[in-house]
Symmetry: C2
């Protein structure tokens, strides 16, 4: 039970890790120091995780990586929206 | 075999996702748009993953998250080193 809580907390913190970055970017309207290569590399990585999760029929892998992918897509959109400033 | 390759590629891409960010920060000497909350949240998250991996005796979970933790520590050091500029 204790370790399930540790694992769940770990998964939640990493899954939602880009939320603070989205909030910061929204407030400052600046994202130029954020690496676009990182954003695309991670998007490809979590997309492959989703495919792997689908093959393994693992709803946790699919769900957690889908949430991260959505936050990454938001950040990539912000990168292009604010990038010209 | 195909799916093992997909899973391994996914793990490698996500594990090393902060390498492009480190390279960008090193080149520009600017990291102020990167969210420090994200860096600390992720560091806590991967540290809990390492603890969970140790409990589960899973060398993949321990190894992958240890690599990510090292890159996060480097980025946090850069954040404070370049932050005053």
């Amino acid at each position: 039970m204790f370790w399930t809580l540790i694992g769940s907390t770990a998964a939640t913190l990493t899954m939602l890790s880009f939320i603070p970055q989205i909030i910061r970017a929204y407030r400052t309207k600046h994202v130029k120091d954020v690496s676009p290569v990182m954003l695309f590399q991670l998007s490809l990585g979590v997309s492959l995780w989703i495919a792997y999760g689908a093959y393994r029929k693992d709803p946790i892998i699919i769900g957690a990586n889908s949430v991260t992918l959505v936050t990454l897509i938001v950040l990539i959109a912000m990168y292009f929206a604010y990038g010209k400033k």
